[in-house]
Amino acid sequence: MTLDEKDRALLRLLQIDAAQPTGRLGDKLGLSQPATWRRIKRLQDAGVIAGRRLILDAEKLGFGVTVFLGVKLATKGRVSLEDFERAVSAIAEVQSVEHVLGLYDYRLRVVARDLADFERVLRRRIMTMRGVGNVEANIMLSEEKLAGPL
């Protein structure tokens, strides 16, 4: 799908605040409320807007530690990949799982209450999984998200 200038401006506004009323979005863009609604609908139907997400303060909710884990599998083959993906995705503390090409086979984003809690997840849930080889952990200190090429 190709975007025009209004679509780009609309997506930027939605990235900042997806909960604002369509009428207010329209005012900022110089569009009527129905025209704004139709644009949002079109972006959703095309899959450009994949969904809405709540921005939560993880630390205030007691999740003080986020770790990026690189996982190398010791044994490969389609079955072990699928088994690993299924098992690791089922862990609540594992927020995202990506199959990657490079130094590691998988990149996991893990959230935990503190370092002791992270160690528990790593040792009891992840390291015990069949096929897990080398693991590299990097503790996140800061994160910022950017608007991207809009």
């Binding site: 997806a18 921005i55 205030k60 998200k145």
Partner: protein, 151 residues
């Protein structure tokens, strides 16, 4: 910390932020007025900071997703700050994280195709200041990616 009622509301709301107050109230078996009071409190306390949209960049033609992991030259006192300020200017960068560990900074970069990636990498990434080393991990597929908190 959260009590059970707020936790129940947040759990539902996190899994579907498009829910209205009456819908949320129905799911957690509370009155809409009570849910509204709880939500107002969560916003006031800064626990709910807002809502954003997830953009599927693949649907916009950005099919290449690469995580670039940098180690920086730490002999330069302001290496981190200067690197991050410059990295923010690269349009194709979606995320910037800093770490304690082997990696100093990670950038999530998108590109339309490999030729486009090569252009961004050479013109905009290799020219960033204070790079000691770069590793690239290309995303083949996203198995799980909702980035929800285990409430």
């Amino acid at each position: 910390m959260l009590d059970d009622e707020s936790r129940a509301i947040l759990r539902q709301y996190q899994s579907n932020p498009a829910l209205t107050v009456p819908e949320l109230a129905h799911l957690v078996r509370m009155t809409p007025a009570r849910v509204t009071r709880r939500l107002d409190r969560l916003i006031e306390d800064g626990i709910i900071q807002g809502q954003t949209v997830e953009i599927d960049w693949t649907a916009l033609g950005y099919t290449v997703h690469v995580a670039l992991r940098f180690t920086l030259d730490k002999t330069v006192p302001r290496a981190f700050d200067e690197f991050i300020v410059a990295a923010r200017q690269v349009r194709e960068v979606l995320e910037i994280q800093t770490f304690l560990g082997q990696v100093d900074v990670r950038l999530l970069l998108i590109a339309r195709d490999l030729a486009d990636y090569q252009r961004v990498y050479r013109d905009d990434i290799l020219t960033l200041p204070h790079i000691a080393d770069i590793e690239a991990l290309m995303t083949l597929s996203r198995v799980k990616g909702d980035v929800a908190l285990p409430l």
